[in-house]
Amino acid sequence: MGSIIRTAANNVGASGVFSSSAFNNASLNSVTSLPTAVDGKMKLILSQTASSDASLSFTSGIDSTYKTYCFKFINIHPANNDTNLNYNGSTDGGSNYNVTKTTTFFEARHKEDNTSNSLAYNTGADLAQSTGYQRIINGLGNAGDATGSGELWLFNPSSTTYVKHFMSRLNSMNYQSPPFTQDIFVAGYFNTTSAINAINFQMSSGNIDAGTIALYGIA
């Protein structure tokens, strides 16, 4: 043990402070948690990848831990052609997805052959105090290379005082031939003062054939 003490002492300065050479784990790869200051501003909570799934639900991790939550959508591909990616919130942990919402929906479109383009509000896709699902991708195609990608932000879902705002922006390839590119903006609020604690995503018809939805908390 005397030898170990002598070796250890060589890693200690005259003031009794360990030098950096005293630590054999420069990669910190056994550390399981970091101080809050190091933990960053964007924390992955849960990632789900669809494989012919009827829906993807996030029934945990949405609470008062974070004030802002962000869902990122990577290459959402539907089983059926001309379907919408829809979502809804729950105040009972996912038993029911039917929270009242008021929303806006507008989109920029441009066809691959340049025969048409537009920037327009879509009155057929918004909601006014409806408990139905809100579409965030419109008329998605199921061609082999067709998908939608983007993000959805949800603000302070655990509040029991205020309504819960959200806004999304996803780009997608629509179902027509030749297809449009669509840059879709949706925003609104869950008109409830109950906490939102679960979110469900599904296509308007058929399964989510493939794609990843990841939930992040923003500190």
Partner: protein, 228 residues
């Protein structure tokens, strides 16, 4: 050695735990890697490029399957030319040897003149404006003025799953750009440009430039975001 042992002992508390003062590297500056769990979901900075009269800024490494989404943030980009010029980007499937992948895109902007001469929300998707329909030209993100020294643009582009060999590659961007009109002077443009690079080949490089002249100044940072 006895002195050091005594000093060392003073750096332990009564429960035998090492005090923070007992480590001379409070900043952890010697740490070269963090556990993988600590990086999950974080926006990881991959590279930074700063222009100095540069013809273009290219990112030819770091764009691969490591991350599911990549984000470019550009700050205070200023052109060398004095007239309005198009701020643009394109991608490559051959590591940057060529930049010319077919792109289908939309564009719109809100604008407002500093002299309050006009303000509007405007569709800019036609091909003769900023939209593209399977063209291989550079994608314009907006018209940047260069006549005044303080004019610049800042914004971001998200590029999703560029390494996919199955799907087209979606991108969405938002930009704050100061334009210049000879009649009314400076005006703010809030541009939203999005679309997809219409290829199933992996995208592995991205190039930024002005349609003419150099990038006089500005910084572009590339981040990766993981979904696992």
């Amino acid at each position: 050695m006895g002195t050091r042992i005594t000093s060392l002992a003073n750096n332990f508390d009564t429960t035998g735990k090492l005090k923070a003062a007992g480590i001379n590297n409070a900043s952890l500056s010697g740490i070269t890697a963090l556990p993988s769990g600590a990086n999950a979901g974080k926006k990881t900075l991959l590279s930074t490029q700063t222009a100095s009269a540069s013809a273009s800024l290219s990112f030819t490494s770091g764009l691969d399957s490591t991350y599911d989404a990549y984000c470019f943030k550009y700050v205070n980009v200023h052109p060398s030319v004095s007239t309005d010029e198009q701020w643009q980007f394109q991608v490559s499937t051959d590591g940057g040897s060529s930049y010319g992948v077919a792109v289908v895109s939309t564009a719109f902007r809100g604008y407002h003149f500093e002299n309050d001469a006009g303000a509007a929300l405007e569709n800019r998707s036609p091909d003769n404006q900023e939209g593209r329909s399977n063209e291989t030209t550079y994608q314009t993100l907006g018209y940047q003025g260069g006549a005044v020294a303080d004019e610049n643009c800042s914004g971001e582009i998200w590029l999703y799953n560029p390494s996919s060999t199955t799907y087209v590659k979606h991108f969405i961007s938002k930009n704050c750009i100061v334009g210049y009109d000879s009649g009314n002077g400076g005006f703010l443009q809030n541009y939203y440009v999005a679309g997809y690079f219409n290829t199933t080949s992996a995208i592995n490089a991205v190039d930024f430039k002005f349609a003419s002249g150099n990038i006089d100044a500005g910084t572009i940072k590339l981040y990766g975001v993981s979904t696992s």
